[in-house]
Symmetry: C2
Subunit: 226 residues, 2 copies
DNA sequence: TCAAAAGTGTTAGAGGTACACCCATGG
DNA sequence: CCATGGGTGTACCTCTAACACTTTTGA
């Protein structure tokens, strides 16, 4: 089996959402060269017996203590010069995490782990900026045709939270009435007998996304679209 | 730099189209174990100094003699047991080729290279069936929102060729008038002063897809959609 | 009673979908 | 003149997009 020394890592772009308009990304501060003290995506080498997904989840757990609520493969980056040490190909993943999982408990590798606002990112190690840009595009595109936005909200949420999330992600205003109509027309939300009263104003009814219903609809060819 | 021995390959799912209703995939017959004499996707190990794309294109050239007209990354497959020899991660690519490039001239590795109809595929080596299924899904989805179908037709084509292609890929009938109206409404086709007369019937006007126009529209946020 | 956020319907226009006949050519 | 495939227009209906006032609560 011939092959030059090509190494394989996995990296994760994990998004969080902070009401009302902050999209967050989880980064770690590198403790070693190259790019010592630069911020970088969590990730690392895959173990020989674990799947790529298991590798990402393990690295995330080790470096930041978080567990994602949603994970999918994003893209593989393999430019020959992307890492100064050696030829390293990174299979990158795209993760989403609900607000209640946002606390960080870094343990092993990472000197620090921290959430950054997407529009206030620090300078990044390697080609991680490129990876993040791709992840943001994917997120923006994907929320218009798959109901993944719910993975950025807690299980119970109000319509205005959902609306703020979409406004933030799409970067443009949304008509509240049309939005509510459209979302409700999918029949995928369960309205709870519960309201949230915080701050001033009328209390908001809380809803729950019915994932199981979505999955069964999906098989029968239902489409979720904007 | 710790890491178990993980190897990296690239594989390509290359599609061709044969009028009026055959979608083709390019396969090679394996000359060595494991899976000796099974059909498999063209691909192989990446050289240390070449990019992943260069690797795919080189392997394709070596094994089948074809040059793709379109290439994009598909997905990376990395289940620990996908190759019986060792842990091998495959970064798979998705290629399209115009009809005039369909002739095969296998040269180095491959005992044979051959086009197969998608609905008459042989048993495949490794997890290549899985990769192909993913590629077909991607192709089906993508032709509805990006003008990649043109990469499966020669530069000059008639509307009925385009219509047959879409019918084949989508697996459902298309209304000729609505289809023509929609496609023309994008303003991306140039009608040539040329017709094709073959077989019986009225000669068909030929068209050309204006890629450069598409790319400049794209920057200004135009959408191509079904 | 005021401020703040939640909740609610209608209308005009655009776009999608369904549908059938004439045209140009070769044999 | 017949067979074969190419080319064309209209009407309905659905879905989208625009738009403003009332309700509920806490202070």
């Amino acid at each position: 089996m011939k092959q030059g020394h090509i190494f394989l890592t996995v990296d994760a772009v994990v998004f969080g959402y902070e009401a009302p308009d902050n999209l967050l990304i989880l980064l770690i501060k590198r403790g070693v060269d190259p790019y010592k003290d630069f911020w970088a995506l969590p990730g690392g080498f895959v173990k020989e017996e674990e799947s790529l997904e298991e590798g990402v989840e393990r690295e995330l757990q080790e470096e930041t203590g978080v567990q994602v609520d949603y994970l999918e493969q994003l893209y593989s980056f393999g430019a020959p010069d992307r890492d100064p040490r050696a030829r390293i190909v990174s299979v990158s993943y795209f993760g989403l995490i609900k607000p209640k999982g946002l606390e960080l408990k870094p343990s092993t590798d990472a000197a620090e782990a921290q959430w950054f606002r997407v529009n206030k990112l620090p300078e990044l190690a390697f080609d991680h900026k490129l990876i993040i840009d791709k992840a943001i595009s994917r997120l923006r595109a994907k929320i218009t045709y798959e109901p993944i936005g719910f993975e950025l909200l807690n299980e119970k949420f109000s319509f205005s939270e959902l609306e703020n999330l979409y406004t933030t992600l799409l970067g443009r205003p949304i008509d509240r009435r049309n939005f509510r109509k459209k979302i409700l027309s999918f029949g995928l939300l369960e309205q709870l007998d519960e309201q949230r009263k915080e701050g001033p104003g009328r209390p908001a009814s809380l809803f729950k996304f019915q994932m199981s219903k979505y999955k069964s609809y999906q098989k029968n060819g239902l489409y979720f679209e904007l």
